[in-house]
Amino acid sequence: MSGAGDREPVFPTRQSLGAMKSKLKGAETGHSLLKRKSEALTKRFREITRRIDEAKRKMGRVMQIAAFSLAEVTYAVGGDIGYQIQESAKQARFRVRTKQENVSGVFLPQFESYTKDENNDFGLTGLGKGGQQVQRCRETYARAVETLVELASLQTAFVILDEVIKVVNRRVNAIEHVIIPRTENTISYINSELDELDREEFYRLKKVKNNKQRDNNAAEEERKNSKRRGSDKENDQEPVDVLGEQEDQDVIF
């Protein structure tokens, strides 16, 4: 029964039936679109998780190599250069900028590394000893950081996509399980109400027709009766032949 389910508070009129029908149509279109969006995002999401996994492994290797080259530097310089380097860091040479990538209407930021060449805080580091090692170490670490930046973009994309997919799926489910059934309920409610009205109307018309017919019949009957009565008066007697053989009765004075 239509009244049982959850439905929108509308009056059962033809106009709102039309509105509900177009609403249902819209909801179905939206549902299929959102479903496709969610699928596209999920595909992307899986690809990103796979790449994150790979990148994390790669990072492990790269950082190991970098740590080793730093050990070489320490050996070559023959002392700890950490303090000196920490003190001389002033302006970042290695920076990132973000650009956007559009995946099904979702903007995923991507980090892109760039170096500001004019900043060179460590111009003098290792000038005494092991300059070449220091240089090589810097390059190794720069490559390692590039890997890290790549990984960071993937990770950011992962976090954002995760959130967006959740929202989209929530919408898909809301449309599928709430909006569409409710609209369908409303439509069947309106339909049944309209049918009810139709039946009532039909019954009323029938009743009116019957009444009319009955009245008509009665009137007809009445007329017939009265007609018969009128004609009977005349037809009761034989027409009198005034000029016939019949003799007139004598008139006695």
Binding site: G60, M63, L70, A89, F94, P109, F158, V159
Partner: protein
């Protein structure tokens, strides 16, 4: 949808919380940045055995929520382990928190907060 452009437009720097060797290496790569005086803020923190957990937490909060110019926070995994609660509850997209291996502590994918989420999502 998701993050507005303003959330990451001005983020240019990387920050690092790590042991001395990691920080030295990354600074050699040129990520070190000290903001203009008077409040000269470094974007790196050297952690050793004597460093308090609260100091690490404070630096982590500073890099993740207070400063708006940091795009990526690098943290050694064994240090992330010390403030695991903070790292796991940080789920924002910006800045990206990246756990990196250190010289003495090889990388363990089991502990990574992002990989944990990946695994949870795929129900493994």
């Amino acid at each position: 949808m998701a993050a507005p452009v303003s959330a990451y437009k001005d983020r240019h720097f990387l920050a690092v919380i790590g042991d001395e060797d990691s920080v030295t290496g990354l600074l050699l790569a040129g990520i070190g940045h000290v903001t203009q005086p008077p409040d000269a803020q470094k974007n790196f923190l050297v952690v050793d055995n004597k460093t308090e957990d609260s100091t690490i937490e404070q630096a982590f909060d500073n890099f993740t929520s207070k400063r708006k110019d940091i795009a990526i926070v690098l943290i050694n995994q064994h240090i992330a382990e010390r403030i695991r609660g903070r790292v796991d509850t940080f789920t924002e997209a910006f800045p990206a928190v990246l756990e990196i291996p250190s010289k003495d502590h090889p990388y363990d994918p089991e502990k990574d907060s992002v990989l944990k989420r990946v695994r949870r999502l795929f129900g493994e």
